[in-house]
Assembly symmetry: D2
Homo-oligomer: 325 residues x 4
């Protein structure tokens, strides 16, 4: 089974939301207190997904907001160099900073992130900064849940959803739940449900769908039934090492397995999954193949030091899939 996009559009995908800086521990397998050097990478879920899709060969654009400083310019330069269209990267004029993520890798199982997200530029994207003429030229609009965490970014995303509907753009909602910035789980659930009901494709972990439902221990069947009563027609629920499930509104269910790898850290798994899954779907592959691409890409990224720089090529993904049939 394949997923049908509006093929008349210029861009394969446009991602919207945060583009930040990751500062990854150069000396790892220890607490961050003992790390004295950090490497700089572009980070942030939608930026990573855009970079990943671009490296796989898709025609990708990005809508975001960055400060007028060295970190902001680094982000735009890096994304441009990997082929992402950054013409809609808005430069903040109010002194907001780029978000930062210092990563701590104590062991492959014990990873954590020290976030700087207070008043960061990406959360100040305004609804009137969403360029309708640009947005309507894409097959898919990729939204990450974190962009809903605060105004005015929240309204910019809600406006992008309204415009995507108007112009027959497929909305992909990557739940991407991060506890910081949100005021309460109640607030999160309201907006997650609101946008999920209006999206076409929804992707998240089981825990993230629980957040959407404001409950613990939800069942996939109930989750997809509730969402299929609205706009969504493809829902991907990830269960970590147990693999992932894709549910089609037609009733079909597909299962993807996880690929084995030597894990360095867990960061970047979700973003690499989404970029390769969407790549395959947009290239006209079946949902089964797309699930393989997502899982394989995730396996590759968790074995490497960064989330963005480590995004694999099609050849690397296909090689891993072939190796672990």
């Amino acid at each position: 089974m394949k997923y049908v996009f509006n093929e008349t559009k210029k861009y394969d995908a446009i991602a919207v939301g945060r583009a930040c800086i990751d500062l990854n521990a150069v000396e790892y397998n220890r607490p961050m207190e003992d790390t004295m050097t950090f490497s700089k990478y572009v980070g942030g879920s939608p930026a990573n997904i855009a970079i990943g899709m671009s490296k796989l060969g898709l025609n990708v654009g990005f809508i975001g907001k960055i400060p007028d400083d060295q970190h902001g310019r680094f982000i735009t330069n890096y994304m441009k160099n990997v082929g992402v269209d950054t013409s809609e990267m808005i430069v903040d004029t109010e002194g907001h900073k780029t978000g930062l993520a210092f990563t701590e890798i104590k062991s492959p199982e014990e990873c954590s992130i020290l976030m700087y997200r207070d008043q960061v530029a990406d959360l100040y994207l305004q609804p009137d900064e969403i360029n309708e003429a640009y947005l309507k030229e894409t097959k898919a609009l990729v939204i990450s849940g974190t962009a809903l965490a605060q105004s005015p970014s929240r309204e910019a995303i809600l406006k992008a959803v309204q415009l995507a509907h108007k112009h027959d753009v497929t909305i992909v909602f990557e739940l991407d739940y991060r506890p910081y910035t949100w005021k309460s789980t109640e607030e999160t659930a309201v907006y997650y449900r609101l946008v999920a009901e209006q999206a076409n494709i929804v992707i998240g972990t089981r825990d993230e769908f629980d957040m959407l439902e404001n409950q613990a221990g939800g069942e996939n069947d109930a989750t997809v039934a509730a969402l299929f009563a609205h706009t969504p027609d493809l829902i991907v629920i990830k269960h970590g090492v147990e693999g992932s499930y894709a549910y089609a509104k037609s009733g079909e269910v597909f299962r993807g397995k996880a690929y084995m790898t030597k894990v360095l850290k867990t960061f970047g798994a979700g973003d690499s999954y989404a970029s390769a899954f969407l790549y395959a779907l947009l290239k006209g592959e079946t949902i089964e193949t797309a699930l393989k691409f997502g899982s394989a890409s995730a396996s590759i990224v968790v074995s490497k030091h960064s989330s963005s720089e480590a995004m694999p090529t099609v050849a690397e993904i296909e090689h891993l899939i072939a190796a672990q049939v």
Copy 2:
């Protein structure tokens, strides 16, 4: 043509949102600088609508938030005395105050309001303060647009919309646009469109529908076509003294005329219109009759000193309708 509600519910209508204090000029036909005495009334669009419907004989409830002070207690007492169920009136514990509206009546044509709306209690209603068991027991849920102006009241309303859908409650969205509190017209348009698309009945002036569309000079035909692509099936657009139009999804259009009166001030016209229009609809009257009820009630209230206390009885409305056939 009649509008069908779910008749198995306990309440005819529950209104949600602000309940405030009006301080009306005792000495009027002058600038407020020269008014030395003010009369106190309950005010705020959804509170006025609830009071109006209750005085007309409906079984009405209210969900709101008031401070733990003399103004808050006055509001609850007053609403209870006119028959509104106030069991879901939440008492604020964080020091927020009741909103205030000082009214200035220079002449029937020159009315203005001096608002106190900074950090008012009603805008602090939380999503987890929406009682699902209560809300599901009403035929109609009446939402006023001002409650969307700020978090967390905004999320409380979005949650109420989600619960109303879940429990087959008819959502009535009174646009009730007030410029204060909103950060931009862009922001207003995003939420007005969002909620209007999910409501069943939408009521507003032509100017308010322009706000929803973030444009000036909109046409009714385009407005109703856009909304009928979503949930709404009845849309009322008011054109002041030229009367109002009700559009049904089935394609029928009904026109209501304005009734002549000796105008004292313009405040309260919209709230009295909504309460009598909904009364008639809920009582099983035709849409044509409901339009007459709305217009007649508005005419009565603009000839009197207050918005809430002046809400008419059924007999008064019927008398005016009969007098101006």
Copy 3:
């Protein structure tokens, strides 16, 4: 003993800080819930003191900030009409409102105030709005403690203190403690001590001096000893019906008795005390006489309905003093 001012100045006194609106219960001796009408007066401690001094015949100016609305214009007009120079009344351009005080008079012993002080205009007076050329032309600068409660009004007052020192202007600090707006008693104590140490005359109730010392049950002797180590040379400590004490740095102590009256409410006692006490001092009367003037003026105001409008004339004060020798 007399207090010496710099007699070369144009104004007897300039007060700085809040000028607000009092809304006094027309129907009283009941809870405010049952009051349906309110009378409007100018209020706010420094405005009341300025009005009181002006009605007694002093040449008085005022530095403050009011909104560009009907309440703001009423305040300026009223103060101008009683003779206060309002040329330095700054008009706010950022949408801040006038503070409001709804007064509840349940009985002479049970009075309370329902305050509206969120983001009020007077707390937005900026340090660069203090006109040095104006301020240097006064014998006495009257500061009320509430103006220190929040930035930028706090910095405006600190700047006024620095300018007063520079130009040999006597600083009168009326502690005027109000719990709202302040974040903590610790914060209050820091600024009260800071300004009291730099003032020449400090006036307050025993409770207010306890606030300055961030403790309960302080003793007058310790209080004045601590302050006399710095700039102050005259300290007035009020003990309610037990009367008040004036301490001079020279070591002399004067006691003023309270005058009997038929009390209507307690509001306005402190402001009327300060205005008449300062009037007498500025007119070259002895400290003993000034204490009598302060107490008599307070007695007159608590027997009347308002705080500002009720400010007495010299003849009324002298009549009461003569009647209760």
Copy 4:
């Protein structure tokens, strides 16, 4: 001429204010966009001064606030390891982060800092977190101006000043002006003047004293005359490569020259100057010698990569002084 401290105290000096993280470019002599690796150091003016004094052999304490995270723990550990008493390092419980300074070194003449100072932990030090029993046990209290930039840190410093006066602790005010965080130069001037007038020793660059005076192009003679009218009795004004001047209230003026060095970057010059100048003063050296120590220490630090780790030993300073007689 020597400066006399109260020799009965346990600590030579306690510094109060910010302790942060510097992230210094590993690859430098280029724009930060091209720097891919950063080294982590403790930073922040008062932390650097405390570290510098401790490395020189003084008995030093620190009062500050750090987050409960890896950066916070690194700071405390580092300071403890170099001998600073960190028993009064308060752990923030409200989610505030450590301030960050990314340094860009394009050339020795073109250095800049990308600051993260929004809602940082050090600015949330509360006045009731100043431990009087601890503070009274020091000869000198070192205050940096940046701690005055925002509440509640501002009030904590004002309280520390009041307690220092009470307990005969010498107040050293390092102006340390940084434009971020302050709302206006007017606001800065109010607090700089306020604290400078209450300090005993004031140290700053000529530009910083201009900030205190809210003017450009001030003259040292006027500056010191104005401050000597209040508490200060020793004022150090730095003029960059032209050297620095120390003014004593007694009328004596001392000049210190700048030492030549191979400059790597300009960061850390002021902090190393202050630590060595105060070291010499506290050790009973003459003011002339203290000026040499300050200048020599600054020369050493600007030739190295960090501000804190680079703080020199007494032997290094004495060696440089001897080498450039």
